[in-house]
Amino acid sequence: MRIRGFVAGLAFALLACGGTDQAAIVVTGSSTVAPLMAEIARRFEEQHPGVRVDVQTGGSSRGISDARKGLADVGMVSRAPKDSESDLRWFMVARDGVSLIVDASNSVPGLSKEQVRRIYRREISNWSEVGGPDLPITLVHKAQGRSTLEVFLEYFELEDKEISPDVVVGDNEQGIKTVAGDPRAIGYVSVGTAEYEAGRGTSIRLVPLDGVEASVASVGQGRFPLSRQLNIVTSDEPQGIVAELIQFASSEQVHDLVEAQFFVPVE
């Protein structure tokens, strides 16, 4: 069964190679980067007829190992490079920023990493303890598996199990609608969505973290702490069509795609 599939695949590959000069680029790795990469790939294919880009997910570690082993031409990694990974070439395609949000009427001036950590562990349970109004805090948290949740937990060094929230939300929109109009609530959503909604007059405020204002600009400049890099990696200096794809993926031509996924383009 498996052998027959392999033979069929081989025959197809030979046919594909022999018939046209169609090139296939294999991209694997982080499920956070994958939806963005798939959109970028679609546009790249439109501009380069005959080129096929195959995007597969499997986590950042698969992105690293597939690129190293040559199983993929390009790996996707949703974090900064580690010291042990300097053998690979790294290219940043976007940043993923997460902003803490409160209702527009909440007067809390800003929060530190330690304060947020203690709020989500319920060691701080009233806004007055952090310079806000005298109201109990309502914790809005994200459902499991969301990339914003991963960024949040990692930065604040929290375990999902130690958080007992008052409300669990799914997507960013639901998070914003739940916090807006509730002066007790604190939540966190993708910074791109938060800034857009606040600009449209939705009753939310982006809370400065460790003295840095939360905005698409500060995330793009790499100043905002609650963010991570979205990278693609190759094992060697990219050549030919792969190099073109990588250049395309970090160019201004895909900024609208980056923003559509609520990520922040790199400046």
């Binding site: 499920s31 109990p136 309502t138 459902a143 499991q144 598996g145 969301r146 990339s147 999902d160 199990k161 007992s164 929230p165 008052d166 409300v167 669990v168 939300v169 799914g170 639901q174 609608k177 739940t178 109009g181 509730d182 007790r184 609530a185």
Partner: protein
């Protein structure tokens, strides 16, 4: 000959259509079971009730998979909604059938029909911006079992009212005329004649409403708070089985994904149970009617 072959073609076509309908159900149920199998094998059915909490992971031994809080949330929300919407829907049907002038009854039917056509996400949004803030004034945080019960009740009232009315309309005219001729009051006719005669239809109305409540996802997801815990009061946030699937499916992998299909199996079993209850009521009445008749 020609006539026969036309009949024959129609029969063939109807058989095909009927088997496609049946096959869809079997395919869906089979697919859900197949996807759930991995988790039932790796995690084992016991842990879905015995684990300390719901903290799923893609590897079975790294996660916790207790579904009981979500099962209880679904049961409480459905029960609450049925307790509110059942009497309300049946009352509306009785009013249309026995008291309202023809044009009022017609208007009432139209309005209820319209209510049943509103998409659930609209109810959910309304719940989130109107109902939840009202509940927040009483008992923060606002998103709660109570909000879910109220939204579900509003959503299933049309189902209950429409089916209850058609079953009341099916009560034989002779019963009502006979009762009237005996000089029984209108209240007496309603409670002693019409309701007992339409009993099985009224129960079906309530049970179908309950079925809709069990399956409702979008509105519930928006107003219930989705915290995995057995609710201690109606003001506590809860996560239903359907909300669990909708919240986590997009990002789940491995045993986590499969565990969500187990959630789906639990829902399927609940709905099959309800249908079985309805069917048993239906046969019971058929027997009753045949002995009377």
């Amino acid at each position: 000959m020609f006539q026969w072959s036309k009949d024959h073609l129609l029969l063939l076509w109807l058989r095909l259509a009927a088997s496609v309908c049946a096959a869809i159900l079997l395919l869906v149920a089979g697919f859900v079971l197949l996807e759930a199998f991995e988790a039932l094998r790796d995690i084992g059915p016991v842990r879905f009730a015995a684990d300390a909490s719901w903290h799923p992971a893609s590897e079975a031994d790294q996660g916790l998979y207790n579904l009981v809080p979500m099962l209880s949330a679904t049961l409480f929300a459905t029960l609450g909604a049925v307790l509110l919407a059942g009497p309300l829907g049946i009352a509306s049907a009785l009013f249309c059938q026995f008291y309202a002038p023809a044009w009022v009854a017609q208007l009432q039917r139209r309005i209820i029909g319209l209510l049943s056509g509103i998409p659930s996400v609209v109810y959910g949004f309304w719940g989130l911006v109107v109902l939840v803030p009202l509940i927040r004034l009483q008992a923060p945080p606002g998103p709660s079992l109570l909000a879910g019960i109220l939204i579900l009740a509003i959503m299933i009232v049309p189902t209950v009212a429409l089916i209850a009315e058609s079953s009341l309309a099916a009560v034989p005219e002779a019963y009502l005329l006979g009762a009237n001729a005996l000089g029984i009051s209108r209240v007496g006719i309603i409670f002693r004649v019409a309701i007992p005669a339409a009993r099985s239809g009224l129960l079906t109305a309530v049970i179908l409403g309950a079925g809709r409540a069990i399956g409702e996802t979008m509105a519930i997801l928006m107003v219930c708070g989705n915290v995995v815990a057995v609710p201690e009061s109606v003001f506590a946030p809860v996560r239903t089985l359907t909300a669990n699937i909708a919240l986590e499916m997009a990002y789940a992998m491995g045993d986590h994904r499969s565990a969500l299909f187990v959630t789906g199996v639990v829902l399927l079993v609940m709905v099959v149970g309800l249908v079985a209850v309805t069917a048993s009521f239906a046969t019971e009445t058929t027997h009753a009617e045949s002995t009377h008749g």
